[in-house]
C-alpha cells in the first residue's frame, strides 16, 4: 500500500550540499516542510536566549491565545467567496504564482555576492584583497591577490546559479499548471499563477491542490473529501476533510454563492486553521479539517469545490519551505578557539616584522636617500621628492598591513572550504552505506544537516523515544479484557482457522487487509447472538472499537474480482489495530462519512449516525463519539488512556469488573503492551439535548473554541460504564537490545523518554536490556513539588549508597562507570512538571548522572526537550536525540544531534532532524563506525590544515628577516596563491573523506573504541600546540637548510624561491603521507599527484618570460645541491615528528592504535577472548 514512499526520502548528495548553505533544492512541487513554530528553537547551540517552559500547561494557553487572536478583525483576512475583485481590493493578498527561485537575472549577482559575504571568512579574504589594491601596500599583483577569492566566489556562484535555475524551472512548471476556476458561473481552465484569493476552484480526483482552500462541497453527498498529504508532511495515509453542511449542497454553476470567510493571517502551522464563514446569514466555524492545503492530492473523491483563502507564497506549504536547522559542530566551535590563537600568531608575526622594520628604518634614516636598494628620493622629476615614503610612522603602519597580506593564509581560509567538501564526501559515504539502508521502508540514510558529521563521534548521551523508535510502531491487537474477563488468545491456532474474517455482500467478499490473532472463545462470544450480559458487553466493546475512532475504510480491488480488501486508513496506528481487530471479530467498519458510519455486524449492515465526535487531545487523553444507533438510542463511546479513563468511570456500578480490568491492565502493561480502556454510556434524551446545544454552541464559538469543546467533552465523558480494555503489542524493532547494549558499552548513556505508562516503559526497558533483574530501580513518581524534593533526596542517598557499595568511585574520565552502576532512574511526567524549570533540576541531574539508566515516562513533547536541555546545559557532553513522531520534534531540535526515524508516524521528526534513518539499530553503525571515522578524519584534517598553512607562513616569515623586513617573498606570488588552492588541498580532502583508522568490523566489535571521541583524542589543545611546535621546526628546516647551503653563492631569489616552494609542498605532503593510516589508490593518487602537479605548476610559472623567475626552476634543478637540499629538508624536518610518533605509538599506545595493530597482525581473536572475559565485568551486578 505504501510502496511509494515520499520522494524526498532519499536525499541525494547534491541537495545535501545545497542545504549546507541555505536550503535544499526542492525539485518537487512542494518544498521541504517544517513544522509549527519550531523555528523559534532554531538557535545555535548554547545561545538559548528564549526561555521555554517545559510544563504541559504551555500548550493550553497557546491554543487559547490563537483563538483569541482570531476575532480581532484587524488581524483577520477577509475573503469574499467568489468575489476575488472585492477580496483583493483593499489588501494585496499574494497571487498564486510562487517563486522559490531566489534571484532574477538582474539581481543575481549583487544578491548572491551579498549572501556569500555573510561568511566571515570571505570578508577576511575581501579585506585582504582590498588592502592589497592600495598603492602603498601592493604585495601581490592584482591577479594573484584576487584569484583565490574569485575562485571560491565563482564556484559558489555557479553552484547557486544552477540551483536557482532548477528552482526557476520547477517554479515555471508549477505556475503553469492548470486548474478549473469559476468565472462567470462557469468553470474555466486557468493557470495556477493566475488564481486569486476568493476564487472558487474545482478539483478533480487525483489532482494536486493549487492553493490553500476551504472546502465548499464535494462529490460525496456528505461533503467528505480525502486528501493525501505526502507532499506536505510525507504521511501517506489519507486524511479526511469535510465541507460544511450549509455549503455542500450548493452548486456554484447554478446558484450564486455569496459569503465571507474571516480567517487568520497566513501562518506556517499546517495542523491549524482558524476561521469562520458567514454564508446565507449563518455564521459557521471552520477548522483545520475544512481546508485543503496546497500540494496535497485529492484522492478517492470525484471532485471537490473550494474557495481559495491563501495563495502562492502565503500558502502553508510555501511558508513551511525553509531549510534545515543550522547547527555548528563541537569540533568547529573548538576549532574557532584555535583560529583565534592563530590570529594571535599572525598579529605577533606582523608585529615582529613592523618593529624590526621600524628599528631598521631608524638606524638607516640618514642613508635611505642613497641606499641603492632603497632610494627614498625621486630625482627624475624637476624637484626632488620622496618616492613611496610617507614618514617613519606611516611606513611602520604600512609594513604591518603588508605583513598581514603576506601572512594571510596563517588563518586557513581554505580550511572552511575543504571542511565543507570533506563533509559532503562523508555524507556521501554515509548515504551510500548499505548497512544504513532500511529494507522495510525502502529508505536510505539521509544527511539533512551537513555540518555536524563529526559530532557523531563524540556522543555521550542518547535520548530515545520509545514508540516507533525502539519499537516498530506496528500495532497488533493482542488481547482484551471485556467485562472483567481476560481474553488473551495464546492458544495455538492453526493457520486455516484464522484465515480472517470476511463478509459477503452482493456476491462480493469484503475482507480486512490485515489479519489479527483471534481468541476462539472471544470469537465465539462475538458471533453468538445470545442475549447474555457477557455477549452484550462483547458486542458493545467491539462496536466501540469499530466506531470510536477517526479511521477511514478504503475498499481496494484485488486480482480476484469477487474479493475486495478493506484498508483502514488513519493517523493513529493504535486505532488501526483496534479497527482491524473489531473487523476480525465481525464488526467491520465499511463506510464512514461525517454524518454516519456503516458497520457490518456479523453480516448485517447497520447504519449509525455520528451525532458528535470529541477528538483526541493530549490533555484528556481520550476520545469519544456519540452515536445514534439503529434502535434509536443514543450512546456515547469513549476510549482512552487508563489514567484518564478510570477517573471518569462510574465506580459504583460493576466494581468487580472495574477491579478485574485494572488487574488486567497492570498485567498487560507489564507485558509491554499498550493499553486502552473503553467505556460507554447511554444518553437519555434530555442529556442528549443538553449536550447537543452546548456542543453546537462550542463548535461555532469564536473565542477559545478548543477549550469550550474540551469542556463539553468533559461533561459528556463521565459516569461511564466500563466495557473493557485492550492490549496492543508494539513490537521491539529488530536488533534494539543489541544496539542499546553496544551503545552502552561504548560509554554512551541511553535515556528513554516515552509518553507511555510507567509499567510499559519498564517492561520495554527489560526487553531492550536497559534494565536487568538486578538493576535497582529508583522511581520518582510524585505529584507535588515538596514530595518531589523528598523523593529526589531519598533517591540521591540510595544511589550514593549503591555507588559506594559497588566500589565505583566517580571518575573524571567517565569512560564506562555508568555501565557499572546498577541503578535505574524512572521518572514520570507529572514529577517532571515540578522538577523542570525549578531548583530541583540540578538535583535531578546529579541523581541521573549517578544512574546507568534513565527512563522518563508519560512525558509531554516539551518536557522531552526540557530533559535534553537539562543535560545539555550542565555538561559539555554531546547529546543526541532520536525519535520518529511529531512529539519528538522539540527534543530533536534541542539536542546537539537530532536523528529522525522515518517510520510510521509521519515525517515531522525527519523534517526536524539532522540525520534520518529507517531503524533504531542503525544508530550503532552511525555512531560507532561513521561517527568515529568522521570525528577522527575531521579532527586530523583541521590540525593538518593549520599546520600546512602555518609552515608556509613561517617560511615566508623567516625570509622576511633577511630582506630588511620589507616583506619580499622569494616564492612567486602565484605559487603562494596556488599553495593552498592547488598544491596541497586535494590530499587533505581525500584523506579527510577516505582515511579510516579502523575497520568497520573492529569498531562494531569493540564499542569501547568509541571512547576516543569522548576523550577528544583526535583534536585537543595538546595536539594543537605540539603541532605548532612541529610546524616551527619544520619551517626552520625547510628555510635554513637552503639558506646555509646557498649562503654567499650566486643563487637568485627566484631559484631559491622555487626550491622553498617545492620543499614545503613535498614536506607537507609527506607529513600527511606519514599520518595516513590506510593507503588506497585514491590516497596515492592525491598525494603523489599533488607533488607532481606542483612540479608542473612551478615549471609552467617559470616558463613565462614576463615573470621575474623565468626558467629559474630548470636552472636550479640541474644542480645537485638542489636535490640534496630537498632530501635533507624532508628528512631533517620530519625526523622529530617521526621519532615522537613512534615512541608514543609504541610505548603509550591508545586503544585505537592497539586495535589497529591487532587488526593488522590478525590477533583480533585474542582480543575477542578478552572481550568475553570482560562481559561479566561490565555486567558486574549479575554475579
Amino acid at each position: 500500500m505504501d510502496s511509494k514512499r515520499p520522494a524526498e526520502n532519499s536525499l541525494n548528495i547534491e541537495s545535501g550540499f545545497a542545504s549546507t548553505t541555505r536550503r535544499g533544492i526542492a525539485a518537487n512541487s512542494v518544498r521541504e516542510v517544517n513544522f509549527g513554530d519550531q523555528h523559534h528553537h532554531h538557535h545555535h547551540r548554547g545561545v538559548s536566549t528564549k526561555h521555554v517552559r517545559y510544563g504541559s500547561r504551555a500548550t493550553d494557553s497557546e491554543v487559547f491565545s490563537v483563538s483569541q487572536r482570531e476575532i480581532n478583525d484587524e488581524d483577520a483576512r477577509l475573503v469574499y467567496i467568489n468575489d476575488p475583485g472585492k477580496t483583493n481590493e483593499r489588501f494585496e493578498f499574494a497571487g498564486n504564482s510562487v517563486r522559490t527561485g531566489k534571484y532574477s537575472i538582474l539581481t543575481f549577482l549583487p544578491r548572491n555576492l551579498f549572501e556569500q559575504f555573510h561568511r566571515v571568512a570571505y570578508i577576511y579574504f575581501l579585506v585582504i584583497a582590498v588592502l592589497n589594491q592600495l598603492p602603498q601596500l601592493v604585495v601581490f599583483g592584482r591577479g594573484a591577490s584576487i584569484l583565490p577569492l574569485a575562485f571560491v566566489l565563482l564556484v559558489t556562484t555557479v553552484k547557486d546559479a544552477y540551483e536557482d535555475y532548477r528552482r526557476h524551472r520547477s517554479d515555471r512548471i508549477e505556475n503553469n499548471r492548470l486548474a478549473l476556476v469559476l468565472v462567470n458561473n462557469q468553470f474555466h481552465s486557468k493557470r495556477w499563477k493566475d488564481i486569486q484569493v476568493g476564487e472558487i476552484i474545482k478539483l478533480q480526483a487525483n489532482e494536486t491542490i493549487p492553493c490553500d482552500m476551504v472546502v465548499l462541497s464535494t462529490s460525496d453527498p456528505t461533503g467528505v473529501a480525502y486528501v493525501q498529504t505526502i507532499n506536505l508532511d510525507g504521511e501517506s495515509n489519507l486524511k479526511t476533510r469535510y465541507a460544511k453542511q450549509e455549503t455542500l449542497s450548493k452548486f456554484p454553476e447554478k446558484d450564486m454563492i455569496c459569503g465571507l470567510i474571516r480567517c487568520e493571517k497566513p501562518n506556517r502551522n499546517i495542523y491549524g486553521f482558524q476561521a469562520n464563514m458567514e454564508i446565507d446569514g449563518k455564521k459557521l466555524s471552520l477548522g483545520p479539517s475544512n481546508v485543503l492545503l496546497r500540494g496535497c492530492e485529492l484522492k478517492n473523491t470525484g471532485w471537490a469545490i473550494g474557495v481559495a483563502v491563501y495563495a502562492g507564497r502565503e500558502t502553508k506549504a510555501m511558508l513551511n519551505s525553509s531549510g534545515a536547522s543550522c547547527k555548528r559542530s563541537r569540533l568547529e566551535s573548538r576549532m574557532n578557539f584555535e583560529i583565534i590563537v592563530l590570529s594571535v600568531f599572525l598579529i605577533a608575526l606582523c608585529t615582529v616584522v613592523s618593529v624590526c622594520a621600524a628599528v631598521w628604518l631608524r638606524r638607516h634614516r640618514h642613508e635611505l636617500d642613497f641606499l641603492p636598494f632603497y632610494r627614498r628620493k625621486n630625482y627624475s622629476k624637476g624637484k626632488v621628492e620622496n618616492y613611496n615614503y610617507y614618514g617613519w610612522g606611516m611606513e611602520i603602519f604600512f609594513t604591518f598591513l603588508m605583513s598581514v597580506i603576506v601572512f594571510q593564509i596563517m588563518i586557513p581560509i581554505s580550511l572552511y572550504i575543504s571542511m565543507e567538501l570533506v563533509r559532503v564526501g562523508q555524507a556521501y559515504f554515509m548515504i551510500r552505506d548499505t548497512q544504513l539502508y532500511d529494507e522495510t521502508s525502502n529508505s536510505r540514510f539521509q544527511c539533512r544537516a551537513l555540518n555536524i558529521n563529526e559530532d557523531l563521534g563524540q556522543i555521550k548521551y542518547v535520548f530515545s523515544d520509545k514508540t516507533g523508535t525502539l519499537t516498530e510502531n506496528k500495532m497488533e491487537f493482542q488481547c482484551a479484557s471485556i467485562g472483567g474477563v481476560d481474553y488473551s488468545g495464546r492458544k495455538g491456532i492453526s493457520e486455516e482457522e484464522h484465515a480472517g474474517y470476511s463478509v459477503r455482500v452482493d456476491g462480493i467478499i469484503f475482507r480486512p487487509k490485515m489479519k489479527v490473532n483471534v481468541d476462539p472463545e472471544l470469537q465465539q462470544l462475538a458471533q453468538s447472538r445470545k442475549n447474555t450480559i457477557k455477549c452484550k458487553q462483547v458486542h458493545d466493546f467491539f462496536l466501540a472499537l469499530a466506531a470510536c475512532n477517526a479511521i477511514v475504510p478504503l475498499v481496494i480491488d484485488t486480482s480476484d474480482p469477487t474479493t475486495k480488501l478493506i484498508d483502514y486508513q488513519g493517523e493513529s496506528p493504535d486505532e488501526q489495530a483496534l479497527v482491524y481487530a473489531a473487523a476480525t471479530y465481525g464488526f467491520m467498519l465499511i463506510e464512514r462519512t461525517s454524518g454516519h458510519i456503516v458497520i457490518d455486524i456479523q453480516g448485517q449492515r447497520q447504519r449509525f449516525n455520528v451525532l458528535g465526535l470529541h477528538e483526541f487531545d493530549s490533555d484528556r487523553k481520550r476520545m469519544s463519539v456519540i452515536l445514534g444507533c439503529p434502535d434509536k438510542t443514543v450512546k456515547v463511546f469513549v476510549k482512552g488512556a487508563d489514567t484518564t479513563m478510570l477517573s471518569v468511570i462510574d465506580e459504583s456500578v460493576n466494581q468487580n469488573t472495574l477491579h478485574a480490568t485494572e488487574v488486567h491492565l497492570h498485567a498487560y502493561s507489564s507485558m509491554g503492551l499498550r493499553t486502552l480502556v473503553v467505556g460507554m454510556r447511554e444518553l437519555n434524551p434530555s442529556e442528549f439535548e443538553q449536550w447537543h446545544t452546548s456542543f453546537e454552541a462550542a463548535s461555532t464559538a469564536l473565542i477559545g473554541r478548543a477549550a469550550l469543546l474540551r469542556k463539553v467533552a468533559g461533561n459528556i465523558e463521565s459516569n461511564l460504564i466500563i466495557l473493557g480494555a485492550s492490549g496492543i503489542e508494539d513490537k521491539l524493532q529488530q536488533g534494539v537490545p543489541e544496539a542499546i547494549e553496544s551503545l552502552r558499552t561504548a560509554g554512551i548513556k541511553v535515556w528513554v523518554l516515552t509518553g507511555d505508562k510507567q509499567e510499559t516503559a519498564i517492561s520495554i526497558g527489560y526487553s531492550s536490556k536497559l534494565l536487568t533483574s538486578t538493576t535497582r530501580q529508583i522511581i520518582i513518581n510524585s505529584n507535588s513539588k515538596e514530595s518531589c524534593r523528598r523523593c529526589l533526596q531519598q533517591a540521591t542517598a540510595t544511589a550514593k549508597k549503591l555507588v559506594t557499595v559497588s566500589g565505583v568511585t566517580c571518575d573524571t574520565e567517565g569512560t564506562s562507570v555508568a555501565a557499572l552502576t546498577p541503578a535505574a532512574l524512572i521518572v514520570d511526567g507529572t514529577s517532571l512538571v515540578y522538577i523542570l524549570d525549578s531548583e530541583l533540576e540540578e538535583q535531578l541531574f546529579k541523581l541521573a548522572s549517578k544512574c546507568s539508566v534513565v527512563l522518563c515516562c508519560r512525558v509531554a513533547p516539551l518536557q522531552k526537550a526540557g530533559i535534553v536541555d537539562l543535560v545539555k546545559s550542565r555538561t559539555t557532553d554531546m547529546t543526541l536525540a532520536i525519535g520518529d513522531g511529531a512529539n519528538d520534534v522539540s527534543m530533536i531540535q534541542m539536542a546537539d544531534v537530532g536523528v529522525g526515524i522515518s517510520g510510521q508516524e509521519g515525517r515531522q521528526a525527519v523534517m526536524a532532524s539532522d540525520f534520518a534513518m529507517g531503524q533504531f539499530r542503525f544508530l550503532v553503525p552511525l555512531l560507532l563506525v561513521h561517527g568515529h571515522w568522521n570525528y577522527q578524519r575531521m579532527g586530523y584534517a583541521i590540525l593538518y590544515n593549520f599546520y600546512r598553512n602555518a609552515v608556509f607562513v613561517f617560511v615566508l616569515f623567516w625570509y622576511v628577516l633577511f630582506t630588511c623586513f620589507s616583506l619580499t617573498t622569494a616564492i612567486t606570488e602565484w605559487s603562494s596563491v596556488l599553495y593552498s588552492v592547488l598544491y596541497t588541498s586535494l590530499p587533505t580532502i581525500v584523506v579527510g573523506i577516505l582515511d579510516k583508522d579502523l575497520g568497520r568490523r573492529t569498531l562494531l566489535k569493540y564499542p569501547q573504541l568509541y571512547g576516543a571521541g569522548h576523550r577528544q583524542e583526535c583534536y585537543n589543545s595538546k595536539l594543537f600546540w605540539l603541532g605548532m611546535m612541529d610546524t616551527v621546526w619544520q619551517s626552520l628546516a625547510a628555510f635554513f637548510i637552503p639558506v646555509f647551503a646557498y649562503w654567499g653563492s650566486t643563487v637568485d631569489s627566484s631559484s631559491i624561491g622555487d626550491l622553498w616552494t617545492i620543499a614545503v609542498v613535498i614536506l607537507v605532503n609527506l607529513h600527511l603521507a606519514m599520518d595516513v593510516i590506510r593507503w588506497t589508490w585514491t590516497t596515492h593518487a592525491a598525494i603523489w599527484g599533488s607533488i607532481v602537479a606542483t612540479f608542473i605548476c612551478v615549471s609552467v610559472i617559470d616558463a613565462f618570460p614576463s615573470l621575474v623567475g623565468y626558467w629559474a626552476i630548470f636552472h636550479v634543478a640541474k644542480t645537485g645541491l638542489f636535490w640534496l637540499c630537498l632530501l635533507g629538508i624532508v628528512v631533517v624536518a620530519l625526523l622529530p615528528r617521526f621519532v615522537v610518533k613512534f615512541l608514543y605509538q609504541y610505548y603509550s599506545p591508545c586503544d585505537v592504535q592497539i586495535a589497529r595493530e591487532a587488526e593488522k597482525f590478525g590477533n583480533l581473536r585474542e582480543l575477542g577472548a578478552i572481550q568475553k572475559e570482560m562481559d561479566p565485568v561490565l555486567d558486574r551486578p549479575q554475579r
Binding site: 625621486n378 480488501l565 569512560t815 643563487v1051 593488522k1160
Partner: protein, 350 residues
C-alpha cells in the same frame, strides 16, 4: 515477550508489491568504493620497520655527506676583500666623498694561489650587506621593457628611476639596472695578462628570451644621481651580460655575481696581480666588496654546510637506530597486545 511471529501480512497483492518494490528499491548499490572497503595498505610503525628506516637514512646520508665534504674541500677559493684597502689613506675618514669624487679609482692587489686551480676559474664579485631582495628594489624593474623595443615607455613599475628630466623614459629603467655594479678587474700573472672571458656568464634563457635583441639602452645613467655602471648604447640588452647577471637579483644579502671566467689553469703559489677600478659605492651603507676566484665542483662552490649536515643527520639516525634497538630489546611490547587497552588496564573503573 511473545515469541509469536506476527500474523499480519499484506493481502493478496503482496507479491506484486514486492516485485515492484524491488524494482524501485533505493538500496545503495554495493561497491567496494562506496562501502569504503577499497583494497588498502595499512602501514604500521613497527620497531623493526622504524629501525630499518633509520638505518637506511644513515646509510644513504653518511656517504652523501662524505662526498659533499670532499667536493667542497676540492674547491679552491680565493677571497680578497678590498673595499677598505682600495681607498687611499687620506680618504679613509670619508669614503663616500672619495667614491663620489673624480679621483683616480685604480687599485692594485696581488693574490697568491694557494693550490693548483684548474680552469675554468670563475671570477666573482661578492657584496655583503647589499639587500638586492629589498621590496622597493626588486619591484623597480620592467620586464616588458627589457624584452620588447616597443614597450620602451612601459616604465610605470620602475619608479623612482623611470624617467630622466621628468618625462624621458629610461631604458633599462628601474633601481636594479640603475645600481649596476661597475667595479672592473683585470688580472695578470708574471706581467702576462690573464684573459677574462665575459661571454656566457649569464643564463642562456635570459639572453634569448628575457632581454631583447632589439632593445638598446637609452638615457641610461643620465639622471641627477648616478647609480652604477653605464651601458654602451650601441649594444643590445641581450648582449649586455653584466646587466643580465645583475638583474637576476640575489636571494640573500650576501651574494656573489659572476664577473667572468679565466680559462687557464693557475698553479700553486702563482701570484696574480689584480688591477681593479673601485667605482661602486657600497660605502654609503657600509657594504663589503670582495673579489673571489673559485673553481667549482658538482656541488657548486666551497661550502661545507651540506657535507656536515648530511653527516650529522646520518650519524643521528644511526644513533637513533641503535638506541631504539636497545630499547626494543630491553622493553619490548607485543603489538596488538590487548592488555594495553584502556578498558583492560584498569578493570575496576576505567
Amino acid at each position: 515477550m511473545s515469541p509469536n511471529t506476527p500474523t499480519s501480512s499484506s493481502g493478496g497483492t503482496g507479491s506484486a508489491d514486492s516485485s515492484a518494490a524491488r524494482r524501485n528499491s533505493k538500496r545503495p548499490k554495493y561497491s567496494r568504493f562506496t562501502q569504503q572497503e577499497l583494497p588498502a595498505c595499512k602501514p604500521i610503525l613497527t620497531p623493526r620497520w622504524v629501525i630499518s628506516a633509520f638505518m637506511l637514512v644513515s646509510i644513504v646520508f653518511i656517504p652523501i655527506g662524505v662526498a659533499s665534504l670532499f667536493a667542497s674541500r676540492d674547491v679552491v677559493e680565493i677571497v680578497d676583500r678590498y673595499e677598505t684597502d682600495c681607498i687611499p689613506q687620506r680618504f679613509r675618514n670619508d669614503k663616500v666623498q672619495y667614491i663620489q669624487s673624480s679621483e683616480d679609482k685604480s687599485c692594485n692587489r696581488s693574490i697568491k694561489v694557494p693550490k693548483r686551480m684548474k680552469q675554468p676559474i670563475y671570477v666573482y664579485y661578492q657584496l655583503d650587506n647589499f639587500y638586492q631582495n629589498h621590496r622597493r628594489y626588486v619591484k623597480s624593474r620592467s620586464d616588458k621593457q627589457l624584452r620588447e623595443n616597443s614597450s620602451a615607455d612601459d616604465v610605470s613599475s620602475c619608479k623612482p628611476e623611470a624617467y630622466t628630466n621628468g618625462k624621458v623614459p629610461i631604458v633599462p629603467c628601474g633601481l636594479i639596472a640603475w645600481s649596476l655594479f661597475n667595479d672592473t678587474y683585470s688580472f695578470s700573472r708574471k706581467n702576462q695578462q690573464l684573459a677574462v672571458n665575459k661571454k656566457g656568464i649569464s643564463w642562456k634563457s635570459d639572453r634569448e628570451h628575457k632581454f631583447g635583441k632589439e632593445v638598446f639602452p637609452k638615457h641610461f645613467q643620465s639622471g641627477t644621481l648616478r647609480g652604477g655602471a653605464d651601458l654602451d648604447d650601441s649594444i643590445p640588452l641581450s648582449e649586455q651580460e653584466d646587466l643580465i647577471v645583475w638583474m637576476r637579483t640575489a636571494a640573500l644579502p650576501t651574494f656573489r655575481k659572476l664577473y667572468g671566467k679565466i680559462e687557464v689553469d693557475l698553479e700553486a703559489d702563482d701570484v696574480i696581480d689584480v688591477t681593479l677600478k673601485n667605482y661602486y659605492n657600497t660605502y654609503s651603507f657600509s657594504g663589503k666588496k670582495k673579489l673571489v676566484l673559485s673553481t667549482t665542483s658538482w656541488l657548486g662552490g666551497k661550502n661545507d654546510f651540506m657535507g656536515i649536515a648530511y653527516l650529522t643527520v646520518g650519524g643521528l639516525c644511526f644513533f637513533l637506530a641503535m638506541a631504539f634497538t636497545i630499547v626494543y630489546l630491553v622493553k619490548p611490547r607485543q603489538l596488538g597486545d590487548p592488555s594495553y587497552l584502556s578498558w583492560n588496564r584498569n578493570p575496576a573503573g576505567h
